[in-house]
Subunit: 398 residues, 2 copies
Amino acid sequence: METKENGEDEQQVVNPWKVDAKDGGKIDYDKLIDQFGCQRLDQSLVNRVHRLTSRPPHVFLRRGVFFAHRDFNEILDAYEKGEKFYLYTGRGPSSEALHLGHLIPFMFTKYLQDAFKVPLVIQLTDDEKCMWKNLAVEESQRLARENAKDIIACGFDITRTFIFSDFDYVGGAFYKNMVKVGKCVTYNKVVGIFGFTGEDHIGKVSFPPVQAVPSFPSSFPHLFSGQDNLRCLIPCAIDQDPYFRMTRDVAPRIGYHKPALIEASFFPALQGETGKMSASDPNSAIYVTDSAKDIGSKINKFAFSGGRDSIEKHRELGANLEVDIPIKYLRFFLEDDSELDYIEKEYGAGRMLTGEVKQRLIQVLTEIVERHCRARAAVTDEMVDAFMAVRPLPNMFN
Amino acid sequence: METKENGEDEQQVVNPWKVDAKDGGKIDYDKLIDQFGCQRLDQSLVNRVHRLTSRPPHVFLRRGVFFAHRDFNEILDAYEKGEKFYLYTGRGPSSEALHLGHLIPFMFTKYLQDAFKVPLVIQLTDDEKCMWKNLAVEESQRLARENAKDIIACGFDITRTFIFSDFDYVGGAFYKNMVKVGKCVTYNKVVGIFGFTGEDHIGKVSFPPVQAVPSFPSSFPHLFSGQDNLRCLIPCAIDQDPYFRMTRDVAPRIGYHKPALIEASFFPALQGETGKMSASDPNSAIYVTDSAKDIGSKINKFAFSGGRDSIEKHRELGANLEVDIPIKYLRFFLEDDSELDYIEKEYGAGRMLTGEVKQRLIQVLTEIVERHCRARAAVTDEMVDAFMAVRPLPNMFN
């Protein structure tokens, strides 16, 4: 079967704007690793993170949510030798309310920041969403600030974190790097990577350098002046890989390290694991704005069950964990390994029913969402301004 | 014969990067007006400028150097009703020393600024030259500042003039407008206008919005805040028309007037009128850095003459003024209409010889170049900083 660099073939399409396993199948992550040319994040790397940071690896790491990488081992080599690095992640602010899938890279990035004690830049691509979703500039900027509140609510350390919106920040050293990147990438190349067509507008064609350049320390002169050798690690969902494949091609040609990546699979929709959750169907996802009641009814009504049609059959065959959404969600969010093992064993053997598993999931998610809501309610406009101020970060490498 | 929107056919090619009358012919300006769809600047418009400004029209206007326009009449209509406008011109800083052809738009723009008493923005596209000429960012910026000195030496009024380099100024409202323009123009469209190919890099594809947005007053919030209805007039050589054809397409869709244009023909090379002067052949042009001796020897040695092979034949037939470069140069720079008439008549009748005409031209050009050099020597780095400071313009509309 022909595999294309842009992540599309007869079975699936994965790019920054579309994730779709055709014919309702599952995303084939092994194939994606092959197509994109990244590496599998194996147990030895997880163990190494454990050893280097002296703390248990995050549940997303030990359960394979972050399953692929590029040069993460080199980041760890450098770190082991006493070199620091910085983290870069981001969000396209296309919707007011985030769902749990949106939070995953940020929860994981917070863990990395705490574990490695490194600075973090977070890009809000309001320019991208203005172009792709045809939002007004002002509406994109408003959404960027709203989303910043949810991001800040994940607990980032203000002394180590710089959040910026493209509409506010593009210019100066950042723009110079955009031009340097643009010079190194032909139109044919971006067509190969992103699948643009001649009917796409040139705003889209101009955008990949904007997402590329936060990978280069000189784009942040207020943070990394004179540190052009600083390495960058990007935690993101794997649909963003095309941007950074392009970035890694260009980096050595303009004098920088290739950014390293640590890449997540998609958080499945309530209806089943055929892609990632969709902001356009509110019943496909749990939102951080959902009430306890919403969460209960969505899980009970929509979460696809691997349980059997009748209790008798369920007791006999056990649940099909391969397709069961409550189990998959618990694997993301139930931190206690032994409890998860127990539930998987009992449910898989038919001794536990779907209703019981769903009740436990509702508890877990309600707790996470309520904690997030409390944290977000405490985020003031002044805090957003403070995180987004162009300033030195006092505890950057402490 | 097929005519293309991008100004290329079997006979000639005219675009921002190439001006070439094939087979050594002349540029056919009438055809260019047809292809590009602009209007001829006729005598009635010149008379109107005379009446409205109460001063004699500039020699470039009354002798047809600026020969084409788009909506210049609407600018004059608005001006007549008491509305103001602003001027926008620019330069791609690709070479250290400017030649006389480079100065023409600036000399004319200074006249327009003085005659209409309006503000002026001058864009130095150091980003463009960094991309097209493959210059380093720093070298492009250095050239931009050097060129700014030559531009300032043309006598612009600092209380009405803002000069900016793209590398310094892109960002904020300017970048937002770039995104708005980019959203309105498909890749196919820029291919039609500029002739880009798939092997061109995306930096080039991204650039047209950068040259477009100074046409919109909101790109300069420190100058034109709250004046989104302000009209813009762009004096430029006609090879820049493609950028502004695109800009005029987009303008009404994002809430602005279409910029008006007033467009110049090309200053011919010393060797003959087959294109514009070339920075890559120093003997094709008179540079503002040339000494009196350089000017004398270049004119005597290289200026293509319409005089006849022998004195006898010259006295009999007269000079062929249609191909004579000294006469063409005098038409640009000898301000005295009656003296020019006299020389044309005597030379055309064979009573004046090429050597005499060249001597007069050498005088005229030496005076212009020496005046320019004195003015440029007086331009300090502090003055460049002052012209390029992001600031209100105190006498903008006085």
